[in-house]
Amino acid sequence: MSAERRTAAELADALAAGETTSVELTRASLDRIAQVDGVVHAFLHVDAESALAQAEASDARRAAGTPASTLDGVPIAVKDVLATEGLPTTCGSRILEGWVPPYDATVVARVKAAGLPILGKTNMDEFAMGSSTEHSAYGPTHNPWDLDRIPGGSGGGSAAAVAAHEAPLALGTDTGGSIRQPGAVTGTVGMKPTYGGVSRYGLVALANSLDQVGPVTRTVLDAALLHEVIGGHDRKDSTSIDQPLPALVEAARQGATGDLSGVRIGVITELAGDGWQPGVMTRFQESVDLMVKAGAEVVEVSCPHFVHALATYYLILPAEASSNLAKFDAMRYGLRVWPEGRPDASAEEVMRATRDAGFGDEVKRRIILGTYALSSGYYDAYYGQAQKVRTLIARDFEAAFERADVLVSPTAPTTAFRLGEKLDDPIAMYLNDLATIPANLAGVPGISVPSGLADEDGLPAGVQVLAPALADDRCYRVGAALEALLLETWGGPLLDRAPGLNGAPA
């Protein structure tokens, strides 16, 4: 099997056995990027020189018998919303074009310390606002399964990079589904950890109380391996949890045996029905049946407040975002636009002109929504009320987790839609995150695992496994079990069925 098709765990084993080198693997990824990224456009920035230098350093460590981690030498792609010292960080926005951070996000520092060469930065909806990457100021990413379709979003770049075998691993961020929904529509795995489980320091905040960094991979075990590299307390992020991570890799290995005896699986009543694509529901039902066969007990659970999740989310997120994005004012970094015909413009005029030119429509839409929601006289009715509903949603989860160890639903209501299809209909776009948003509101972890291809369009669908806060290991155990059971029925990885790209071998 060619290097780029192997999982990160296999690559790590091969490196440990001396069968390959990090330079070889990194070069293979860079070659694949050169070959297919012209049509996929998963990357906004590739730094071959730096990646190869890191790979050489990794090989030197392996040769000296002092690898920095299990994954030392396995290359990785990083979503462009994470600060990388010396590498541009644009968040998919014109307003940060050319900005090179003077510091690393904690997760990036941990990835570097673990010896993973960073290939480059991946495309995303501007400031992570979107479900399709079409809101990137630098053009959309294309779904490797069908280049006319969206790769999901906001982290479509990371998911597509992994699906197109340009990188074995990637980092994503998930505010309302930006790791899991791209995972579902590209046939890859995406994990949103417990809120506070992974440091947010250096993650350019969309909505601070919802954002979480997580792994984007092709297998559940790879996600667990990467999660253990980036997770754990960080004193630079006061909201990070000061507790050891559960044994995630161990949970994934246990799950891979395919045994789910004694596990109670809750199917969420509210996350099904009208508007859910039949092929997606069929694959979901099959997944549930497989888990039952593997010994799991299935219970129906109702989470009555989930119907308000989307409305709640679209008050809290814009409110926090409107404040976070205020710092982009042309005063200290990033774009500076002088208003036309005003050589002696005031600072305020320059701020206005820059923000007008530098932010895209979706960003402006959410800044306006958030500013309104926080306004004096409206705060209680909107932001204040949304926080109360958020508590009710968290209570729904608590009640559900008394009856079930994990909750499951389809990750997204549909498979990948066509580029441009929902661009003029923000509400339709927002509805894509219906199933993923509740986990962010409650801070619980969730993983998306491929469930197969929908019959209607032959495109990937995903199953989401949600667990109580701090029980990320349950996502890995159940996710890995489902993955193993499905692999058996498919006779090989789902991604092997994806078409070739631009004449490149599939």
Binding site: L82, A83, T89, C91, L96, W99, P101, P102, Y103, A105, R200, Y201, G202, L203, V204, A205, A207, N208, S209, R235, K236, D237, S238, T239, A319, E320, S322, S323, A326, K327, F328, D329, M331, R332, Y333, A347, E348, M351, T371, L374, S375, S376, Y379, Y383
Partner: protein
Amino acid sequence: MTTATGPTLVPFDDVLAAYDPALGLEVHVELNTATKMFCGCPAAFGGEPNTHVCPTCLGLPGAMPVVNGKAVESAIRIGLALNCEIAEWCRFARKNYFYPDMPKNFQTSQYDEPICFDGWLDVEVEGETFRVEIERAHMEEDTGKSLHVGGATGRIHGADHSLVDYNRAGIPLIEIVTRPIVGAGAKAPAVARAYVSQLRDLIVALGVSEARMDQGNLRADVNLSLAPKGSGVLGTRTETKNVNSFRSVERAVRYEMQRHAGVLQAGGSILQETRHWHEDTGVTTSGREKSDAEDYRYFPEPDLVPVAPSREWVEELRGTLPENPLARRARLQADWGFTDLEMRDAVAAGVLGLIEETVAAGAAPQAARKWWLSELGRRANDAGVDVADLGVTPTQVAAVQALVDAGTVNDKLARQVFDGLLAGEGTPEEIVAARGLAVVSDDGALGAAVDAAIAANPDVADKIRDGKVQAAGALIGAVMKEMKGQADAARVRELVLEKLT
């Protein structure tokens, strides 16, 4: 802005005849923690521009704040000293507005959940005690500093461009807000001054801030409104900023009372606005209009966890509080043997702490009182600064007094030593040597001068020989004149009497 003729000011007594003033004071205290409120950058004053900065206090994308525990401790101690309740649970909030000296375009502050609330401070004015109620004391971060270049005034108006120094951005501040202070009447200006002055004494005693008004460690905003006499309502207020000395606090209140009355008596209404105090001209001018249109869109800071000080910790901190100011005053008066009047003057002049430090450095209490209240007080008044900011330290005053006690200089020469201290000429001893100020007590030189005086005033000498000892004064005066004041008068007297009796 004011018109060329300026606003109409009503005579102070006439203001009081028609209106009741209500005061409100907002004092910002810059804490002296080693590091900033939300990052590890040094919080020290000064430094080359933009050297005490990091991703967090520069508000770089992705950077996050972490609360400085020492700042929380200082906030709680201030709150306890002001008899406040300490919140069991409180949060930071974002105050959103755009300004280039604020890196994130929001200030991390506290809104409806301050860490300290519902307290009071008793202040004494001319023997009368006023209880100033404290509404809240909350934690926040300071902003950077803008320097406007190219304009005539250093203000933004007319400037060509602006430079921003973020060294100050993120330095911990405690904002202490009073409830409206009513009923002070004619004493309103003095109450305002006494409150800020006694608050400063408290902050200094707590050791949580340098509390230098001239350096901006302690900044007072003065709110003032007038209401028709006896109406019991609150009028529209103005908020005067940039009031940088105790004296200015008093003057600004007085000025605004007179200005408000002028506007109201002319049938106008007071605009709720921010005003700037001008130290040099003693007037306020209009700043930005502060209306309901200014909406800070406060919401809880999602990057920080709530601050929940345990009751054990709060009680532990209560045990570290300095003495209550009124008890301290009683103790000092007893220790020093001051009369009530002497004590009251010292309190009014805000020099208790200075006297205490001077006494601690070795001076007698009455001597310390005398220097701070008369000589140094007069000089501060002439210079238009608070005596604490004059530039003479308690240690120096004690050293000067030691020279007087040793007979090296007399009181008159000591004044010249203070001239030298203010001119930065070195220690008191060095100044005495360099300026040749030491009194002459060498009997040889003095003896010659006494002989010359006797020879020049034979009639006076005869009177003394006849037993009229009180006539010696004329000879002593002549000798002192001859010696240009640099003689030990007591020794001169002894020599005159030795020679003539």
